[in-house]
Amino acid sequence: MIRLALLALLLLCTAVPAVAQPPLRWGGDSEGGAPFVEADPADPAKMIGFDVEIAEHIAAELGRPAQFVQIAYSSLDQSARRGDFDIGLSGIEDSPGRRASVAASVPYYEFREVITVREGDRERFRSLADLRGRRVATLGGTMAYDILLEAEGEHGLTAVSYDDDVHPYSDLLLGRVDAVLLDHVLAERAMRRNTGLVTHPEAVAVGHYIIIAAPERTDLRDQVDAILRAAMRDGTLERIFRKWDCWTEDQPALYARVLAAEGSDAPGATGGAPLGSVARAWEALPRYLPSLLSAAVLTLVLSCAAMLLAVVLGVFIATGRVYGDPLTRAVLTVYVEVMRGTPVLLQLFVIYYGLAGMVRLPAFIAALVGLGLNYAAYESEIYRSALEAVPRGQLEAARILGLTRLQTLRLVRAPQAFRLALAPMTNDFVALLKDSSLVSVLTVVELTKQTQIFATNIGSWLVPGLLCAALYLAMSLPLSHLARRLEDRWKVATP
């Protein structure tokens, strides 16, 4: 018990931040690599990159020591809102959605979205329009991805989103995609890493990097803005970008604009609900809806089939446990305890891979059988308990009338037990709808998996999550409704 308590305490403590001298905690993703943020090869404890130098400059100006906090790129906004760091910078793109959900600084760097292709395709693929029918890769949750989604409709290409900026280029080399659209900083880095690729210098679009903070920290944001503006004026920023070989002729124009806008309201400086990202997600929705719906249909078909199997099998197991001889009962009890007591994921693996030596089940069938066998254990327990709760007098009356055991079960016991089993059964069916998402390990793409794909691609969980929840609800509500109506009807017959 003491050990448990300690453990719990430990877990509680790790989440409570230590309050000491206030360094400026700045968040970034060192996996993003140079020239943004990366560990110094000479001294890996030290971070280097232009974002590092900008962060350190800001900290110095604020008179606070800088402290780096490693945050996954895709979690930066979320972590900002949670307050995991004071300011975040790591090649974070400006966007209305972001401006609406966190406090965003003025832009400090202007980048161009550029197309990279294999050398052999240099002439064939010069613009998005040339890529009709082709797969074009990018990083999920970026402006480039939004552009590609637009282009899906306009130019008939297929957008493919990745979680990192390395694999788009390696898959480009492998021929899995035919072009990559990303900002020129990432593209140049990729060009250095890989041979056989070529980047078209023309900008498909331009964007900006910004610094973010928690939505309520507008005070800090304003300080950062002031420091950035000063750094634009006195050449600090130019020196940093030149050092990292990222200075382009676009920057002076950007700085001029930023400095000219000083005093006037910066765009989106008001904060508020994350309407921007929601709007972006709604825009992307029509493209994802068909695949989400068909994933929902798959989920429903799989769940219904598995539940059917579970119910039928569950009835047999329960019958066996109530009426069977001691051996049958023991065997069935072991089945129930093992199937119920061990993770269904493991069972799915055993059925899909473990039995592959004997029978190679297609993934869908393996998923159905696995879920069905697992849920049968749960259903059987519900039925067994419900069957045993039917008053003895009812069974004796049936017996005395000469009904066989099977007839008694069918005509008297099961109908009365079913009423007791209905609510827990409905629970299980509703749970199964969600549990069926486990089968994605068997390469079956159902609703949750499809939602994940959607979310990764648009770089936000909000709308896909809500939509996914709504779809699950849409499947479970009619079921609950039906169950409740049945219950109400039977309630009349309760003594």
Partner: protein, 233 residues
């Protein structure tokens, strides 16, 4: 006389209480045998053993297929009165549904609950439920019919109706074994009364004879207060 029912030396313990201490009992077709005894003397237990719902610890039993009406009716809660009565004829005796239904309606009518045929058990009054349960047992027409306190919830009028039905059944060759606390009913409709006391049959014979001129202490105890009252009136 063909013996339909023959019981010898029936014994039963519940924990360390001996409920039945060696019961001998016979009944032949055409008889209406009434089992009487104090509450808790084991009447229901005897019927349940004869019906095969309970096992005796010792004793010989020779019993035909029996129907039974329970002290607490045990109607099927999810079925209407009519469905309760039709269930066995349709599923056990394989009668057509129409045939079974017609007979069930006739039976319910005869017992005065025809108008409640489509009510669920929980919508019936105590006496109505009792009569539906009797109809359900009669519908399968078993050679031996066990009735546990069939008159308990019946008013005098209904009680006599039931008595007539039972007498007619016995006349047609069935064997009837019933328990009752109602000495008037037993006197009027039973052909024989069996008095149970201390887990044994202490006396049996013609109801008028036994109930008016009880030979045994236990029988007198059972009826004692009643008789004193009657005398004192």
């Amino acid at each position: 006389m063909t013996t339909t029912l023959r019981v010898r030396g029936l014994r039963l313990w519940r924990g360390d209480r001996q409920i039945l201490a060696g019961i001998d009992l016979d009944a032949a077709p055409g008889e209406v045998v009434a089992l009487m005894g104090l509450s808790g003397s084991g009447k229901t237990t005897v019927l349940r053993i004869l019906a095969g719902l309970e096992r005796a610890d010792a004793g010989e039993i020779q019993v035909p297929k029996a129907g039974m009406v329970f002290q607490f009716h045990y109607l099927f809660e999810h079925l209407t009165a009519l469905e309760n009565v039709c269930l066995a004829p349709v599923h056990v005796q394989r009668q057509t549904r129409a045939q079974a239904q017609a007979r069930a309606e006739a039976l319910l009518g005869e017992l005065g609950v025809g108008h409640r045929a489509h009510a669920l058990p929980r919508e019936l009054s105590g006496g109505e439920a009792q009569r539906v349960a009797i109809a359900r047992a009669l519908a399968v027409d078993p050679p031996l019919l066990l009735l546990d306190e069939p008159t308990a919830s019946l008013d005098p009028a209904r009680r006599n109706d039931l008595g007539d039905v039972l007498k007619a059944l016995a006349a047609s060759g069935r064997t009837l074994l019933l328990t009752s606390h109602d000495d008037d009913f037993v006197r009027d409709f039973a052909s024989r009364v069996v008095i149970l006391a201390g887990g044994r049959v202490v006396e049996q014979g013609d109801p008028h004879q036994v109930l008016e001129h009880a030979q045994h202490e236990e029988t007198r105890e059972l009826l004692q207060v009643e008789r004193q009252r009657k005398l004192g009136r």
